[in-house]
Amino acid sequence: MDYITLIQLLDSTVRLATPLLLACLAGLFSERAGVFDIGLEGKMLAAAFFSAALASITGSVWLGLAAGIGASMVLSAVHGLASITFRGNQLISGVAINFLAAGMTVLIAQDWFAQGGRTPSLFGGARFEPITLPFAKAVEDVPFLGPLYEELISGHSILVYAAFLAVPLTWWILFRTRFGLRLRAVGENPAAVDTAGVSVVGLRYAAVGIAGLLCGVAGAYLSTALQAGFVKDMSAGRGFIALAALIFAKWRPWYALWATLLFGLFGALETRPDVIQSVIGIKVQGQLLGALPYLMTVVILAGFVGKAIPPRAGGEPYVKER
């Protein structure tokens, strides 16, 4: 495998890791606050549809992004209502949200565009175009660093850069602000937070809201940057891979970056079986690569390679003592 192939592979790794990273950080906020979220998939899917739909109708990708975030936040509100206000089962609520998104997106797409559950193809201002960073063309011919800068670092859509910036930002919010401390505390011991006079319900809604925002961006990226338009079930299990990455990352922001990049690499390799064969000399089945994130997560969960300990109050609705 030559250098350019490697750069191309890493380039598509970054592209494929971006939605995983955003969804993984979404799950991170939610689960750190003690609200399990297996509805990441559904929120992403809803956001993907509404951003593509609005972008297609208005021609503005930014309005599309706003609509996608809005749709994802509405589903987050449903999740919050079920799991925080009415103290229902968070897992069942997540399952319901996934199905709601899977059904509603096709239903509305068929009603609005009548193209068999897809949106028209997006072009021009209705898509997030790649951004060429300064001097990218100028340094193209510099050996080694030139292609690295021109291919890998430059030439992504703005959402990719936003996703990568979200990692230090998440770390800073969670570990360096008062809000972050309280948010983590509410996922470990909500009773203590309540005793300190801080609203458990408020904090959890805030966390679920942030998760909605990030899933919204992830979905918008899928349909307006990675691809040009919405197709049925286009999230294709990415929400669950993000969930796997979250466990893999042991609920930590920087680890989440590495985990999603790793899973993104698997995705990139799936499309380039020739590369794997030339590197390790064996033909690896595409199905195995596709299943690898899930297999690795099971191994991690089993505690064979380091233990992943979830936030202690995760999944438990909080009931004030009377």
Partner: protein
């Protein structure tokens, strides 16, 4: 406090939840410019108006009884088996192996043999997450989700690379031999002089599903093991104190649950397609969740909920055929049912409890002050009962 009479608990709460889901579904149909009443008429006519419609409704219901029972059994031990889909896929693999590679003399023997294989494969696929939960403390919900994807990848590999007959482009196994053909309802009812549609896929598996309901009812409420499963679901510390092994109960429950989900394959793989195809389960494993929630984890409830979803499935297919409403409407209804009967259960329960409190006559204090916790993965329902 026990504020609601039993009939309200068992019938009224699910009925109101269902009604809410139905109203929202009607609004969705209205919003996409169709007439909900006409849609319901079309669904009833398409699903129940002919023996052909009934044949499909019962075929789908058979799938959902198996997966619904699978989820329900796990709920009794307060385990959420979300992996019915993967377990049913593996069950399909078991059926295909048994049907293709063993020369069965008669369909009855084939049904027993293939059913055993289906249950075995499904059980193994559920036993691994069960073991990981019992021994390593990894959450069964996450592992079963992962196992669904691993099962899909495995089936994809097996069908494309191993079981596909040479020369075929279709990622599917070879057709099963004629000897393992399961009698359809048409063939079963014809000797009794009852005319039933020839082309509908409902088959003898329906009877197996009904038998499974009875067996599971016996198991849960009439055996020692069932008592242990329920005790473990109600209170893990108390069950442990009573000498019930958490590892054993978790494993056994997951194995029974997985076996039931796997057993679905005798209906869809052996009874209908008569070969193993990609995505043979068509999401039935997930519908099991809605069915178990609506049926309140009771075999009788599961049976009726499965019938309802069978009706919705067949009716939805008819809708997609004759109107511009896509099949995905059923997915929306399914989501709303899960949402209202599962996650938003307290939204219905809390006002109802208040209502019952208001009309209750002041009498002697109740001898049992504690609400009996309900089977199901809900937490904190006794605290909220005020």
């Amino acid at each position: 406090m026990d504020v609601m009479p039993k009939w309200a608990e068992v019938i009224l709460v699910p009925l109101i939840s269902l009604l809410l889901a139905a109203i929202l579904s009607a609004l969705v149909i209205l919003a996409i410019g169709e007439d909900p009443i006409a849609a319901v008429n079309l669904m009833v006519k398409g699903a129940l108006g002919s023996t052909y419609g009934w044949g499909y409704t019962l075929y789908y219901a058979t799938n959902f009884i198996f997966t619904g029972l699978a989820v329900a059994v796990a709920f009794h031990a307060r385990l959420f088996n979300i992996g019915g889909e993967g377990q049913a896929m593996l069950g399909g693999l078991g059926v295909a192996l048994a049907a293709l590679y063993i020369p069965w003399p008669h369909w009855t023997l084939a049904l027993i043999g293939a059913g055993t294989m289906a249950a075995l494969f499904g059980a193994v696929w559920a036993a691994i997450p069960g073991w990981l939960q019992a021994k390593r403390g990894s959450h069964v919900v996450i592992t079963t989700i992962m196992f669904n994807f691993i099962a899909a990848a495995l089936l994809n590999y097996v069908l494309v690379n191993v079981m596909r007959p040479p020369g075929s482009m279709d990622p599917a196994s070879a057709r099963f031999p004629e000897a393992v053909h399961l009698p359809t309802l048409h063939e079963l009812l014809a000797p009794l002089g009852i005319a039933f549609s020839k082309s509908a896929p409902a088959n003898v598996s329906l009877l197996v599903a009904v038998a499974a309901c009875v067996v599971i009812w016996m198991l849960i409420w009439r055996t020692r093991l069932g008592y242990e499963i329920r005790a473990y679901g109600h209170s893990q510390p108390a069950a442990k104190y009573a000498g019930i092994s958490p590892v054993r109960i978790t494993m056994v429950t997951m194995i029974i649950s997985g076996a039931l989900a796997g057993l679905m394959a005798i209906n869809n793989v052996m009874g209908e397609s008569e070969r193993l195809v990609l995505n043979a389960t068509e999401g039935a494993g997930f519908i099991g969740i809605a069915v178990a929630l609506m049926g309140r984890s009771h075999p009788v409830g599961v049976f009726f909920a499965a019938l309802l979803f069978g009706f919705l499935y067949q009716g939805g297919a008819e809708l997609a055929l004759w109107t511009s409403i896509p099949r995905e409407l059923i997915v929306v209804i399914q989501a709303l049912v899960i949402l209202f009967t599962g996650a938003l259960d307290n939204m219905v329960r809390m006002p109802l409890e208040r209502l019952f409190l208001m009309f209750r006559r002041p009498g002697p204090p109740s001898p049992t002050p504690e609400t009996e916790p309900k089977p199901g993965p809900r937490s904190a329902q006794s605290e909220s009962a005020e």
